[in-house]
């Protein structure tokens, strides 16, 4: 297991390096000038030259790359051209909100997708199954930005059930920042009012972001359960006279968990990318909003930083999924 972990961590470095290399060169072949973007449309040529020189943008691309890599190994992602701050502190500011949103979306996927899948499997080809399958189809095929606008219009503007964009009711004072996740920080501060407001603000964006995942989880659970339910040991368990609940949850679900786990691992990765659109529409101050404004502002160091962090997160999640395999299925061992 240890050898496996070490080997995978070694691969991980290569993957992240590859992602970073690609991001760097793509951003440098784009025929656009970050200096011009940072200084605005009225800037004079002399100002732009001075800026390019100050940030080393006038150096040849390979030299800029070497400099970047040297700094990277020292743990320095450089400074953002737009916010003028170290990218690490920008990421530290923006990442927790995305993490919170992703967790929320994941919670939706599990809490909703799992029972949906089980019900569909138990009532195969009957009305309930059809409803779940239709919902899964719609949820999986709806673009997230469209769903976001629709959900905002319906549940916020028309029905008024849930609050609109943002993380918190603006009239409330933010809790002291500990984790950067509003709900968690409010809980730590013991502020019930802020906690409820933060949680309510989380519901819509998390549901929208999690819609696709919910659909996928429901479908995976359904097909995995169907397969398992037709196995001999399930029939045996039923024949032994075990309660239906025990058969379903103890015997079937546990064995159906493996494919579901695979899906959830890759979903976490896609949630990070889906967050770009969801965060923009819901004014969510996370890494997705940060990536959007960095890309629009041609803030290449920031874009690089986001890419590297996303690549790292994706790789780590995949690794975690592989490790969890062994936990769920004792037949799997890693050498």
């Amino acid at each position: 297991m240890l050898a496996f972990l070490l080997r995978r961590l070694g691969y991980l470095i290569f993957v992240v390096w590859g992602v970073g290399f690609a991001a760097f060169f793509i951003s440098h072949v784009v025929p656009a000038d970050p200096a011009a973007a940072a200084l605005g449309s009225n800037a004079r040529p002399a100002q732009i030259e001075a800026y390019r020189h100050k940030y080393g943008l006038d150096l040849p691309a390979p030299e800029q790359y070497v400099r970047y890599m040297v700094d990277l190994f020292k743990g320095d992602l450089g400074n953002s051209l737009r916010t003028q701050r170290p990218i690490l502190s920008d990421l530290r500011d923006f990442f927790p909100a995305t993490f919170e949103l992703t967790l929320g979306a994941m919670a939706f996927a599990v809490l909703l997708g799992l029972p949906m899948g089980i019900i569909a499997a138990l009532y195969q080809d009957r009305a309930l199954d059809l409803v779940v399958r239709t919902l899964a189809l719609v949820g999986g095929a709806t673009p997230v930005y469209w769903l976001a606008i629709l959900a905002l219009e319906l549940f916020h503007s028309r029905l008024g059930w849930l609050p609109g964009p943002g993380e918190l009711n603006p009239y409330l004072l933010e809790p002291h920042r500990v984790t950067g996740m509003m709900v968690v920080d409010a809980a730590i501060a013991g502020n019930w009012q802020v906690f409820v407001s933060a949680l309510r603000h989380l519901v819509l964006p998390a549901a929208v972001l999690g819609a696709f995942s919910t659909a996928l989880v429901a479908r995976m659970v359904r097909s995995a359960m169907l397969e398992v339910l037709s196995q001999d040991y399930v029939r045996t368990a039923r024949a032994k006279g075990l309660a239906g609940r025990v058969v379903v949850f103890k015997h079937a679900l546990r064995n159906a968990a493996l494919p579901v786990l695979t899906v959830m691992g890759s979903l976490l990765g896609s949630l990070l990318t889906g967050a770009v659109l969801t965060e923009t529409i819901f004014s969510w101050p996370g890494i997705g909003s940060y990536a959007t404004s960095s890309a629009i502002g041609l803030d290449f160091p920031a874009v690089m930083g986001v890419t590297l962090v996303a690549g790292l997160a994706y790789s780590l999640i995949n690794l975690l999924v592989d490790v969890l395999y062994a936990v769920f299925d004792p037949r799997i061992t890693y050498a």
Binding site: D33, S41, R200
Partner: protein
């Protein structure tokens, strides 16, 4: 089973709480929440900030020596200076001597002439994006500003710099005065306190910076040392990029003011009794830039004239902007001294065709048409605006191949004089006609005239003369000549001067936005 029942009860309680717990709203009447796209914010340091979103914030934190009052941008009024004298120097330059009134920074220290000197010299030392206003436009150096005593400060300007223009310029946030003693305590290396000023403030205005959560909000609180306490104690600028999000939030009362309604949404808001709509002014102009260099597609002024006759300005303003714009045909817009609102052209396709024929282009021509992604001036999508122009120009035989890039990329190409036809917007750096005349008419200013390769001796001469003239009547006359000349000979087809649509809830009183984007937060109040 009991455990299961308990779980269900807890879940049910939580659900009820989530859907029914309307947050109590303390001090709501003293808090103003403004939703807008503030993603252009880089810094709140008044000596460095040069973004659209930073100016209105800084202006409420840092007082300037001279200011504009409300939305009137034609007269400077006393700010930190109660009065000022302008005198000539022996070598043809001028001095402006400012007499400071008694004022206190939010730190409790009095505002002195030394603070003014330090604040101005600091801008020149840092040499940020806005510093050219001091160094190039005003010809200032370190040492140009001198404290004569604690309450008197003198600014010396070189020959050829018009003190009237400089007074207008000093109203901008670059002229903001900060507590030198305080900022000096927070200097890191040679940053002149820039880093510290991103999360703190040291001004004498009605508000001070409380916190800036990047990507989320900027929060200002009332300055307790300000003599005239404002009604709104807390201003929150919430980042909301999406027009839809702003619409949703203002309808539910989560925000009080929305900055980025689309023209369509604005039209709907006009009939909503819970909302107020404001068409606020801006000096911005949307225009077509035509490359007029030798051998370029628009080198012949008759072709440029043909374009100006071919463009259907009314159609653009009524249909695309839903009326949120005014017709402009030359380079000094409504609101500035010397504004020229003459209609030099009518929408006349026949006339345009004749001009094309006279220029030897009756067989038509093909040009590349550079436009930006996203929304153009006035909130209309650039692609829609470009499509309308494309169809207008097709009627006179000009085929345009639209090339859409990010705005940053567009300006990179444009600056290299490499655009053939470009759809862009311009607003002056300071509210003086010279803020338009010089960049748009003087090739040597290396700005728009240069980018469109329009090197015209008459344009340069008129712009330069008007810039240095200190006689208001003469200046006005020179600008009248210049605007007419550029309208008929320049490299532009001006499209419109947009309004900036702002929507507030009906409770908000006294909200006004000047053409420069300034909002006096202290003048705002909220009904219960």
């Amino acid at each position: 089973m009991a455990r299961l029942r308990l779980t269900w009860m807890l879940l049910a309680t939580l659900a009820v709480g989530l859907f029914s717990f309307g947050a109590a709203q303390p001090a709501q009447q003293q808090t103003l929440v403004i939703g807008g796209d503030w993603t252009d914010l880089i810094t709140l340091d008044p000596g460095v900030a040069y973004e659209f979103s930073s100016t209105p914030i800084d202006d409420n934190i840092y007082q300037r020596l001279v200011e504009f009052q409300g939305t009137d941008l034609s007269h400077v009024v006393p700010g930190l200076a109660s009065s000022w004298d302008i005198a000539s120097t022996a070598d043809g330059g001028t001095t402006i001597t400012f007499h400071l009134k008694d004022a206190t920074f939010s730190t409790g220290r009095p505002v002195t002439a030394q603070d003014v000197v330090w604040s101005f010299d600091r801008v020149i030392h840092i040499n940020g994006p806005s510093a050219f206003l001091f160094t190039d436009v005003a010809g200032m150096k370190v040492g140009s500003t001198v404290a004569l005593d604690d309450k008197t400060v003198q600014l010396t300007l070189p020959k050829g710099v018009n003190p009237q223009i400089i007074l207008n310029m000093l109203t901008f946030n670059i002229g903001g005065i900060m507590d030198a003693t305080e900022v000096k305590q927070h200097v890191q290396g040679d940053d002149y306190g820039q880093h510290w000023l991103n999360d703190h403030s040291a001004g004498s205005g009605p508000y001070m910076l409380d916190r800036w959560d990047r990507g989320s909000q900027v929060v200002l609180v009332a300055n307790p040392k300000y003599p005239d306490p404002p009604s709104i104690k807390r201003i929150i600028l919430r980042y909301m990029q999406e027009s839809n999000a702003q619409r949703a939030a203002i309808t539910s009362g989560e925000i009080d003011v929305a900055y980025n309604f689309t023209p369509d949404a604005f039209k709907q808001a006009e009939s909503n009794p819970d909302l107020k709509t404001l068409k606020t002014d801006t000096f911005q102009m949307a225009y077509l830039g035509m490359n007029s260099g030798p051998g370029a597609p628009f080198a012949d002024n008759r072709v440029r004239d043909a374009v100006r006759y071919a463009i259907d300005q009314d159609g653009i303003i009524n249909d695309l902007l839903a009326g949120l714009g005014r017709k402009m045909q030359t380079i000094i817009p409504y609101g500035l001294m010397g504004a020229d609102t003459t209609q030099y052209y009518t929408h006349d396709i026949e006339k345009a065709k004749q001009l094309m024929a006279a220029a030897g282009k009756s067989g038509g021509m093909t040009v590349e048409f550079l436009i930006a992604t996203g929304a153009c001036s006035g909130g209309v999508p650039c692609a829609d605006l470009a499509a309308k122009i494309q169809s207008d120009l097709a009627k006179i035989g000009i085929t345009t191949n639209i090339k859409q890039t990010t705005s940053a990329q567009l300006y990179t190409i444009y600056r290299q004089q490499a655009a053939q036809l470009v759809l862009a917007a311009w607003s002056p750096d300071y509210p003086d006609p010279n803020g338009n005349a010089s960049p748009l008419a003087d090739y040597n200013a290396k700005s728009l005239a240069w980018r469109n390769v329009w090197n015209d001796a008459q344009g340069t001469k008129l712009a330069t003369e008007a810039a240095v003239s200190t006689d208001p009547a003469q200046r006005k006359d020179l600008y009248a000549q210049l605007t007419k000349y550029v309208a008929q000979n320049g490299p532009y087809a001006i499209l419109y001067q947009p309004y900036v649509p702002i929507v507030t809830t009906a409770k908000v009183q006294g909200f006004a936005r000047s053409a420069q984007g300034d909002v006096d937060y202290a003048a705002i109040s909220k009904l219960p």
